[in-house]
Symmetry: C2
Subunit: 452 residues, 2 copies
């Protein structure tokens, strides 16, 4: 199986559903990976999706539920009986079960928690108390742990026993008599050792671990830093309470990067494209109001030079170009700097060098685009002296763009504020105010000097 | 070891270097994880970093080289003798060795390839022919493979033998007599099976695999879709040639998301924050020139209404507010839509719904911020009728922002063009032109009607 061409089997599912061909559907669905089925359901109509979902075995159904989008998941869950739902949840790993249950209405959640295995129910309820975006909220209770005095033989036996129920066992965790984590052993090292060896003798002491309350972004960074595939999670007393596997962390990483850019665009990090409009309106409005304030700030600069514009209206025609080019150049600078800070390619040690660099880029690109603008403005019918004005103001504003686009995220970082948040609003205010001020200000000076 | 507080040991390294305390340095560095040492070197001065680097064992030095930024890596490599470099490269995994060697000047690269193990040299040279951003460029030659007719016992013996040299063995790959991949077995499944079982009987048939020429972004998607920790890479004849592990893919994923936002900001995806200014200038200039063109397009709308502005200069003061608010609202819409498309939360099936939703958000936020703008404009000294104009134009332009901010990425996606690329430029052109046209156009109509 390589990457499947989606349309192939989506069309096949549609046809089989239309013909009510049960045997064909059972056969096709049993051959597909759960993640491919999930992607197919996302593409079908709601009616087709709920119909197809009924043909799935509980184990596949449980995996498919995790692959579809939240809206469809709710629909699929509401389309099956509570007995069927209990069967499906029973098949999930504890962390996924906790996620699904937390999305259910309270009554249904209770019913499911009472219906599933007593032991699993206890584990899931423990997980439900942790905030979703912490190590505790991301961990699963499924893991293999042995006491320090176990032999390799006994440990392998434990892996065997557990591997019937647990996916992705890559490590065995070693604990002392008080359940405190004392080491980890990779399966490859386990295979390497003699059967009578004590596990504590081959375990990695002081293993990388995280506490339940650590933010998921920090957990992701630890995974990256140490190239891990799984990490043990401990409580305040260092007792082993769960593990997090890399597949859950990959999604966290994606989310966190998108959040940077959400913040730059003045978006609430909770907003999703499939949210209802009513929710999005309220999440986007605050930043737009802040922007309105800064827009009036820039407008007051223009008002200050109202007399100058009255004498030469072409200035009003050209001034948005100066401000707009500054805004674009600034967005380039912020994006590069925010990325550098996020990936650790840029540290405050190099801050001065980056400021100097961005000012240089602004100067060079200001001279080039400014020269081009002068030529276009001349063709446009503006007097040559206004073209010179445009050239000077654009060069100046692109330097302002480079300086503010790098300085503001760096200063936010220096004050330990997220460098992405609101960077754009501060920076575009600088380039709007800077653009209008230099262009109209220079025009006023030129007029006073009798040049215009 | 949990997350280390950086400053602790960075200061310690600095102090030990100053005092030339060799024993202390050796002890401290031997206790730190390579990735922590790498982060420390990034923070030190160049001189301190090269000094500290000399205290590292070849194995640690090789890992540290992978953790520091490219500029420092070049410096560290040039600070050691070619014999030392050969020793360091010898310790690297083949994919990392190929990456390091590809950064060397041709003469040095040759020397290293001749100096290292013959077998490793052949493997590395094979990897060097694949483009960097394909599966072939990301894979390593280190893997465990056995023939179909091996027993579990023999396979475990092979894992034992290889695990002395290979990190992160999570799977064994099964091949036929022509080296064609026929299956994979996880280590946990291997432990579960009886020693005399044939490997082909427990192997997963039709394993997920990728071809050497697949783009790294697609490889990352396959990892995510199937929650993998390692994937086999095959050539056109389906022969097993390497494997890719999840730690390399995590970096690819990060890179690809950042690329979306780079494209939105009109940046070349190759640009890095530590690039010299001269390189950045040329990479950023093209988009700025395109923007200059669209800025003059918007300016020509203003020029069309020059007569109107001459009669009422306050219009020139307020018009950037209409355009600017539209631009900000549009950026919010594009960011949400591009993210939704990238994560697969949004498919073209829901395109019409999203368009309708974004128009609704634009209308609601346009009405709200427009009303606020009217009040502020009144305080600002604008006549009430101009306030009404501002209200109407802002509402209208925020609807334009919502529609263009969602329609343009969706249309690009429809035509199988990256929805991130140039979205911003098209959309802000719409909101600039739309903002100036509605505001100044309505003003002209109002004037003709004698309302102003």
């Amino acid at each position: 199986m390589t990457v499947k061409v989606k349309t192939d089997y989506i069309e096949e599912i549609k046809t089989l559903l239309e013909r009510h061909n049960e045997a064909g559907l059972n056969h096709l669905l049993s051959e597909l990976h759960a993640s491919d089925i999930g992607r197919a359901l996302n593409e079908l109509t709601e009616e087709e999706a709920t119909q197809a979902f009924k043909y799935l075995e509980p184990e596949t159904a449980s995996e498919v539920l995790l692959e579809v989008d939240e809206r469809l998941r709710k629909l699929l869950i509401s389309s099956i009986t509570s007995e069927e739902l209990i069967e499906v949840v029973q098949e999930l790993e504890t962390d996924d079960a906790a996620d699904v249950i937390s999305e259910l209405p309270l009554e249904d959640a209770k019913q499911v928690l009472e219906g599933i295995d007593r032991q699993e129910s206890i584990e899931v309820q423990k997980l439900l108390v942790y905030p979703e975006d912490t190590a505790g909220g991301k961990m699963q209770a499924e893991l293999v742990s042995v006491s320090e005095n176990s032999t390799v033989e006994e440990t392998i036996e434990e892996v065997r026993r557990k591997s019937r129920d647990i996916e992705n066992i890559s490590n065995v965790f070693v604990v002392d008599s008080a359940q405190r984590l004392t080491g980890t052993v990779g399966l490859d090292k386990l295979i390497l050792a003699g059967p009578k060896t004590l596990i504590k003798d081959i375990a990695e002491k002081e293993p990388v671990k995280v506490y339940t309350d650590l933010d998921q972004e920090e957990v992701a960074k630890v995974f990256q830093r140490y190239d891990l595939v799984a990490i043990p999670v401990v409580d305040k007393e260092d007792r082993l309470v769960g593990r997090i596997t890399i597949d859950d962390i990959v999604d966290v990483l994606e989310e966190e990067i998108f959040e940077d850019f959400y913040k730059m665009a003045g978006l609430n990090v909770e907003e999703r494209v499939m949210d209802p409009a009513s929710r999005s309106i309220w999440m986007r409005a605050p930043w737009l109001f802040v922007n309105l304030g800064t827009a009036f700030l820039a407008a007051s600069v223009v008002r200050f030079f109202q007399g100058t514009i009255e004498q030469l209206v072409i200035l009003a025609v050209l001034m948005p170009i100066v401000a707009g080019m500054g805004g674009n150049a600034a967005t380039q600078a912020i994006t590069v700097v925010v990325r550098g800070l996020a990936l650790g390619e840029l540290s405050l040690k190099n801050a001065r060098w980056v400021l100097y660099k961005e000012a240089t880029i602004g100067l060079a690109n200001g001279l080039m685009t400014g020269a081009a603008a002068t030529v276009i403005a001349y063709i446009f019918g503006a007097p040559p002296i206004v073209g010179l004005l445009l050239f000077l103001a654009m060069t100046c504003n692109l330097v302002i763009a480079g300086l503010s686009g790098s300085l503001i995220p760096l200063v936010l970082k220096w004050f330990k504020v997220d460098p992405a948040i609101s960077s754009s609003i501060f920076v575009t205010t600088c380039t709007d105010v800077g653009g209008f001020f230099t262009f109209l200000g220079l025009a006023t000076v030129f007029m006073k000097m009798g040049l215009i």
